[in-house]
Symmetry: C2
Subunit: 213 residues, 2 copies
DNA sequence: TGTACATCAGTGAACGCGCGTTCACTGATGTAC
DNA sequence: TGTACATCAGTGAACGCGCGTTCACTGATGTAC
């Protein structure tokens, strides 16, 4: 029935389990039994658990970053007005939507992985991600600077991370928060609902008056 | 030389290691060897690794939450003007400063633990923290609502989580970001620097115009 | 005051278990002559 | 076309290791009579 290859099945299972239990909390036996493949297949296809984790991140991040980069480049060379903060964030959102479709489960999983990546300062994952995807991030920063030219670089640096934090943190815990809202407020919300609220929040936070320095 | 008790030494070591490597990634042997105590002492004093983790969170969170609650209560019953968003966040900051002194290492560690707690939806830790500290959080929410009375509750719910996300995420990764700033921008920043920028960001984000619903 | 017993803090060694990884092996498919 | 060999995907079983936990034990301190 499943047409996917062994390597793909492993990646699928690993992505789901890493997002739930974290890297150290997920064993290769969990992954292979969920994927319905032989235990030794992980080391055969990926070499080690560590390399499997990189492959999971790479498979998730690469389509998103490639697509985002293309969007940013096309806006950068048109020579017109620089993008506003709202437009920039909307580009990120629509890129994510294009890549992950309307599968909010997968999107949430991706965000949980990103949150985990940040949580794990310790190991070499951060270095790997920085080396692999740092350029896209820096290109994005350039656009943010153009959108808020009067902001001191240091202040802007922090505000961008505040905004990213708000996004990653909220979207990674989306499942849990959705539950709270349903139980305490009797309100059912979708992921797109949150994203729609997130964009103006980030833009307003970044644009706010500079109070120090 | 060390006057602290065995249980305290274990808590100290566990807090540091959990913050760095996460819960699953830290073994009791790491903890006890760092603490310089016998391996069996963890189960003697705490019963299990799981209960040790709860004790770590409890020791870190309780002084902060107790102090915060006292502050909020004293402002709540004075019957004067409701607190502004900035004042509310400043209360959080000054409470944290009072509790953790100016030891930014300890503060960062605390934030990393909070980030980890959010990252781990899976296990029962979230439930434990919700049951133990939910009331302080709800009391804080009441004050936020008073500070932004015209905001629809659902919108406010999300914006508060956006703001918390910005805070937790940034402060948890403070060490790493500090390094980036030093390498790429040749700028050395302290924790208080970031907190000072964080408060207006959160306030501006929450106060921003409502665009949907 | 002395003695018997209880409680407490801590220890050393072992327990079974699940971990990531390795290895010899199978069987199918592709390639060379 | 047939045969020999190489490559590839996958497997089953075992490897040693570190894991959390347990247990019988020690020695110091406290309490009762």
């Amino acid at each position: 029935m499943p047409k996917s290859t062994t390597a793909e099945r492993i990646l699928d299972a690993a992505q789901i389990l890493f997002a739930i239990k974290g890297f150290a909390g997920t064993s290769l036996r969990h992954i292979t039994s969920k994927a319905g493949v032989n235990l030794a297949a992980v080391n055969y296809h990926f070499g080690s658990k560590e390399k499997l984790m990189r492959a999971v991140f790479e498979r998730t991040l690469t389509p998103f970053c490639d697509s985002l980069e293309k969007q940013l480049l096309s806006h950068g060379q048109s020579g017109g007005e620089p993008l506003t903060l709202e437009e920039l964030f909307e580009i990120m959102v629509s890129t994510a939507n294009n890549v992950y479709g309307d599968d909010s489960k997968e999107f949430s999983r991706f965000m949980r992985l990103m949150g985990l990546a940040y949580a794990q300062t310790q190991d070499e994952l951060r270095g790997f991600l920085g080396a692999r995807y740092g350029m896209v991030f820096r290109r994005f920063l350039v656009h943010v600077k153009l959108a808020a030219p009067e902001m001191p670089p240091k202040e802007l640096f922090w505000r961008i991370h505040f905004a990213l934090g708000a996004a990653v943190f909220t979207l990674a815990s989306f499942g849990g928060l959705q539950e709270v809202l349903l139980n305490d407020y009797k309100m059912d919300v979708g992921l797109s609902d949150v994203v729609t609220r997130l964009v103006p929040f980030m833009a307003a936070g970044i644009r706010g008056e500079v109070e120090v320095e």
